[in-house]
Amino acid sequence: MKIGRRAFTKLGAMSVAVSAASRLAYGEVPERKPDRVGPDDITWNKAPCRFCGTGCHVQVGVKGGRVVSIAGDDKAEVNKGLCCVKGYHVGLILYGRDRLTTPMLRQGDGHVPISWEKAIDIIAQRIMAAPEKFAFYGSGQWTIPEGYIAQKFMKGGLSNNHIDPNARLCMASAVTGFLSTYGVDEPAGTFTDVDKADVVICWGNNPAEMHPILFSRLIDRRARGEKITLIDIGTRRTRTTDHAQHYLEFKPHTDTAIANGIAHLLIQKGTYDKTFVEKYCNFRGESDPPSMNGEAISFEEYKKRVAQYTPEYVEQISGVAASDIRMLGEVFSNPNQKVTSLWCMGMNQHTQGTAINRLVHGVHLLSGKFGTPGNAPTSLTGQPSACGTVREVGTLAHALPGGRVVANEAHRKDAEGLWNIPEGRINAKPGYHTVLMWEKFSTPTEQNGDISTLWVQVTNPGQTLPNLAKLFHPSRKLSDKFLIVSDVYPTATTRHADLILPSAMWVEKNGMVGNSERRTQQWFKMVEPPGQARDDVWQTLAVARRLFELGHPGMKDKDGRFLFAIKDEKGGEVPAWKWENFYRVNVDQQLFEEYRKFTTYKHKNLAPYNEYVKARGLRWPVVEQPDGSWRETQFRFAEHDDPFVKKGAGIQFYHSVTKDDRALIWFSPYNPPPESPDETYPFWLCTGRVLEHWHSGTMTMRVGPLRRAMPQAYIEMHREDARRLGVQDGETVIVESRRGRLEIPVLDRWPWKAPQGSLFVPFFDERLLINEVTLDAHDPWSKQPYKKCAVRVLRKAT
């Protein structure tokens, strides 16, 4: 349908008039604000970017039912009208030629199209046959309502806790770090700290490529003549290093020693913040046998334990010069300098991930670099809703919404009350975490492999799980294991799936997400999904309804009604499980309003849905003011900003582990890694990302400019190592670990230098699956696997 310019203008004018009329009639604006129509008949509307956890807002230009343009959103505080190169091209991800458009069932070696009805029935029948053997593998790209409906479906419906997200591979160690330090998850600071800090320390972090807007926000300050010191503590040089005054290269896994070294210096020189520590902190060490909560220790005991970490000892372990460790000590000692720490995968994908997270929090607490603008330990996330969905909705095997856990009886009762389900329905035993879930799915049923049906939404485990030969491939040879995958494009996972469901993505559906700085964001559907692609929320809802029809008792609430009753404005039930009705009401809004009730318990208060419609995201806790407006919070636990802190308290950790409003300063010793280079496997292999591509490349590899700029994966090797092996630049070599091998071309000259003895391979390329090689060893508390392993490099026989 083609609409003329005139008609378009009239349409726009009418919606403005309607909105004004309803304000006059009812004293309020209708929920959906009229779209703005710009020149060239392009309609603009807001949406958060689909990619990383920075959470930039873009303006999406739609014309003729297609996204035709993207602009940075001036009103967004995160990005102030700017975008990174992935963000500017985010609209193109919808239009790869090979979008999945119809449900497909495996038949022999290929897949055949089937109807949605049949697809939903197949899933329901498999769950009905063995509800306890079903598992849901989700994602930090699940929108909040998608995660919430899956969570309620599993834990509140099937009494099954086998639900875990890919974020387990991404930020689980950050969660355990926050929980064991403050008693509650997620950063206290926000991106505002990056605008105010004098010193920013990147701990194994490369924001120049992974969070470019946040990074520009920092270094653009230099162009204004502000002095910012950037310290890059890393295992390889990156684009971030180019901007850093100090580059501290450490041996992989030894960051715990560096953090302990800083703590030692603060104490030895007496430059720690005595007042802060005395008023707001307790000390904790690891218990024997080890436990998540450790054991209380005295300050004297803490002092004794860190005393060993002299700059010289740390240099010996980490390879970072003692003088540089002293420099870090000075940075934290100087009361006039504001220090912000940033970290992401480097600290989290670590077999001591929880420990290093705790230690970095500890250094900030010990030095009092906390709670004032510019002083913050801030973890970043790689996915748009790792915080909003995974951590807040709690789509983890052990969690319930709003910071509750299944193992706690009171928490279960809370959730059962809010969901109106019979007492005792929620299973008290945590389900399988990611690595275990896939291990069980890959183990034959008769050998205790008790997961038989696995549903994957919004993620690509066939490419991103570590040690694929162990965790992914075996199940594909077992006839009774059934893999369901909802996705938008063919991936390394759909290729092996038994049932493929085509999903709507990004602005083809309504959505809400939460970024790294506790900012909850909302957008509306703007274009139709292609073919028969449908929302993931609908898919879960439809399966739940089918199970209800089949008589599954868990799909009923206490009063015998369907668990997911979607209502219209008059309170009548809408059969939203039928696709044609799904957009008759705003299902996202109803799920969100229900979920919102969970969030006050841990003071992560969210505002009503319509507040997010108006805003470019709001940072929780969002608290209603006497005048009816809603106020967001930038600095948690700090009296000057956080409404939940008692007047006069200064800083109050109101969810403290020790119940005395104090945070914990942990001591954890340096422990050697599970696998180190040796004579047979002499190289460290580190995997990671590149500027041009996002995660497994499913979306960005379909965007021309990005793909042409970075067409394939490579292995980065030091020139000296290449010379020694006789490898030419560009030559294809074999990289091999104890678990698998891969042929991949070498890059030794440009743009960066991997240190000697170290290799780097990005994981975005589905043709060059580096996870055939990686290790599945993981942190004992967060269950997050490790980023690095030992490998060797062989020349191909010529």
Partner: protein
Amino acid sequence: MPVSSLVVTLHDELSERMAALSQMESTTYLTVGEIVGRVHVPVVCESESLSQGEAHVRELMAMRGVVFVDVVMVDFSDLEEINESTRERRIRPEVEWELDLLAESDRSDG
């Protein structure tokens, strides 16, 4: 050509309301939306120029059954030039008449 978004507030009385609605619907330059609540009607008004738009609003206000007209927005993005100064408004007959009166009073004062 300017396009304006208006909200017309109608009379409480049913017969008055019906009269206003039917008259508005038969007016070619108006597009009448669905009534919101009981008395508020969103209306889009098209005109050749800004001054004509203003005249249309006055005509609307004068209609039977119309209590008030709110002008919410005027879209004149496709106007080549905006040179309709207030002078143009003054030459409309009714205003001219007012000006004459003013001139009269000036003279009498003098």
